[in-house]
């Protein structure tokens, strides 16, 4: 890249940092905007997040308001997405469901990150027996199918939204631990890490203030992809009755309740929450893939 070319000039006049920063940010934004799929993904995420935030103001009805007189109505002017078996407005429930799903995704990914990253970093940085023990534990977690493991964890803590978040978070830990492990293994051999040891920096400071910032890009990609996975798994848990308790609106739970009515022709009960799950996960996956494409080559040539 252009940076490496300028380094050959003996005494170059450096760019004023504000302008250089701005330029860097502009390139990042431009690269992101050039990636059509990433833009599509980002717009899904932005729309769902926005809808989740403004749900109380835009929802036409209370999500838990039952109206048996108008139950199982197909989509119409009064109920755009129809009504369910209790006469609740499906549109309002989908909008409120977005709040729960996105919130669950955020908390679950935060749990995975906060536990997985330090574990992987410590395992790689100190290595030896400690490292092996940590990484073998991660392998054990990975060996179980993720849904089965999250079911087991959720069931053992007791069904509920919080336990679903914790369960999904725990299941996500090994992915982050392994990613951080690999990053740390290669970064700790870098000369600048040795240089910071040579000026007497403590190990934990090196790990979290020198190595971690260098590993952020792949972690960010993984976190974005992990959001999709977390939303899906949390919805699956709710579908199986291990997540939120009725009557709270949640996409997985809505599909679970509505599935009996597919055969009798009331398709709108499952279709709209299903689309909610599909588009939000698609959004996170597309954005994650896009970010991976954008961030990886930049980081390599940036050195």
């Amino acid at each position: 890249m252009s940076e490496t070319a300028t380094t050959l000039v003996p005494n170059p006049v450096p760019q004023p940092s504000a302008r250089a920063d701005l330029r860097k940010r502009q390139t990042f934004a431009r690269l992101l905007l050039k990636n059509r799929l990433a833009v599509l993904g980002l717009s899904f995420i932005v729309i769902w997040t926005l809808l989740a935030v403004i749900a109380p103001w835009v929802s036409p009805y209370e999500p838990t308001l039952t109206d048996t007189a108008s139950k199982l109505q197909s989509p119409n002017a009064a109920h755009w997405f129809g009504t369910d078996n209790f006469g609740r407005d499906v549109l309002s429930r989908v909008l409120y469901g977005a709040r729960i799903s996105i919130w669950t995704g955020l908390i679950a990914v935060a749990i995975s990150l906060c536990i997985g990253v330090p574990l992987g970093g410590i395992a790689a940085y100190y290595g030896g027996r400690l490292g092996s023990v940590i990484m073998r534990l991660m392998d054990i977690l990975l060996a179980f199918p993720s849904l089965v493991l999250s079911m087991a964890i959720a069931a053992s803590i007791g069904a509920g939204l919080t336990s679903a978040m914790i369960a999904v978070g725990i299941v996500g830990i090994p992915e982050f631990a392994r990613l951080m492990y690999g990053q740390t293994i290669s970064l700790k051999e870098k000369e600048y890490i040795e240089a910071s040891r040579a000026i007497g920096v403590k190990d934990n400071v090196i790990l979290f203030r020198h190595i971690l910032p260098n590993a952020l890009a792949p972690l960010l990609v993984q976190a974005t992809l992990g959001m999709g996975f977390a939303i899906l798994t949390a919805s699956s848990l709710s579908f199986l009755g291990l997540g939120v308790k009725p009557p709270i609106a949640e996409w997985g739970a809505m599909i679970s309740e509505g599935r009996e009515y597919i055969i009798s022709g009331q398709w709108w009960l499952v279709t709209f929450p299903g689309l909610g799950i599909a588009t939000s996960i698609l959004g996170f996956n597309l954005l994650g893939d896009g970010l991976r494409d954008i961030l990886d080559p930049r980081l390599r040539s940036g050195k």
Partner: protein
């Protein structure tokens, strides 16, 4: 005689590899006085860098270890100190400049924080003070507009500027000993001269002793007071810089000097020392330089020569010199 700042005696550093134990540094002694510059020269793989890493206690902990010897910094043996005690010395009283300025700065941390980092640990100063100190240090190493540079990232700087930043980082706590491991190898010749000038200037101001590790005899001639020539993990010759260039005694040193380009001679090809540094797993039984030595004798392949004082302040590890000396006396 000034006080000894660093005394290394009988240092032996070993690496455990799949093929066996490699003795990368095999019993070397070094002495550096305050404010002095000692050069270590030798080919790649002769143990120069391992010596410096051993002194800093920065050997890769899984495979490298100091098997024997003492490293006394102001009388304290660093080999037998705990990690925390060594850390207190490292960066504070003893600092190091690395070979590759392009890879020795963390790409995601701003220059200012990297320069001030050791000061923040060792001098326990706050963020604001640290930034002021970083700016002051960068100005001292000849970087213009340091107020802006502290906010920049390493990739925005040129190689020469990065090496200046590295020097600023190393000098920020005013160490008594600066270890420079090939500080100019990765730089253009013009920048090399500037960097060497800068190091000399800082040395004069702060009275820092420098351990200069290099394979460039030009750098040695320009910078050093005394020189140690290393070959295959051992010291083969040690003397002051004038004597080394005027009357080198060891055949290896002569070979090194002969392979320098001479302006006056205008030879087509440069002289070189035939052969390669021996594999550290299969060292020759006798003198380690014997397989490549132009003046090899029979005993060179049978016995290992000692490092003996041949003249006042001049040591050499060669049977030929020993014989000459015996003949004289």
């Amino acid at each position: 005689m000034t006080a000894k700042l660093l005394e290394v005696s009988g240092l032996r550093t070993e690496f455990v590899t799949g093929g066996g134990v490699i003795r990368a540094v095999d019993g070397i002694d070094l002495k550096i006085s305050e404010g002095e510059t000692l050069g270590i020269v030798g080919e790649s793989g002769c143990g120069k860098s391992i010596t410096s890493l051993s002194i800093m206690q920065l050997l890769p902990s899984k495979i490298g270890r100091i098997a024997a010897g003492e490293i006394r910094f102001k009388g304290e043996d660093l080999v037998r100190r705990s990690g925390r005690e060594v850390r207190r010395v490292r960066g504070n009283r003893m600092a190091m400049i690395f070979q590759e300025p392009m890879t020795s700065l963390n790409p995601v941390i701003r220059i200012g924080r990297q320069v001030a980092e050791s000061a923040r640990y060792h001098l326990k100063i706050g963020r604001k003070e640290a930034e002021t100190l970083a700016i002051e240090m960068l100005r001292k190493v000849g970087i213009s507009r340091p107020e802006q540079i502290v906010k920049q990232y390493p990739h925005e700087l040129s190689g020469g500027m990065r090496q200046r930043v590295m020097i600023a980082m190393a000098m920020v706590c005013k160490p008594e000993l600066l270890i420079a491991d090939e500080p100019t190898t990765a730089l253009d010749v013009t920048i090399q001269a500037q960097i060497l000038d800068l190091m000399r200037e800082l040395q004069r101001e702060e009275g820092t002793a420098i351990l200069m590790i290099t394979h460039d005899l030009g750098v040695v001639a320009e910078m050093c007071d005394r020189v140690v020539v290393m070959y295959a993990g051992q010291i083969v010759e040690e003397t002051d810089v004038r004597t080394l260039f005027r009357s080198p005694q060891h055949p290896y040193t002569r070979g090194l000097l002969d392979s320098l380009p001479q302006l006056s001679e205008g030879r087509e090809r440069l002289a070189s020392i035939p052969g390669q540094v021996p594999n550290p797993l299969e060292l020759p039984a006798g003198c380690r330089f014997a397989p490549r030595c132009p003046v090899k004798m029979r005993e060179c392949e049978e016995a290992v020569p000692e490092l003996l004082t041949t003249e006042e302040g001049h040591q050499c590890r060669c049977f030929l010199r020993q014989k000459e000396k015996e003949a004289v006396s």
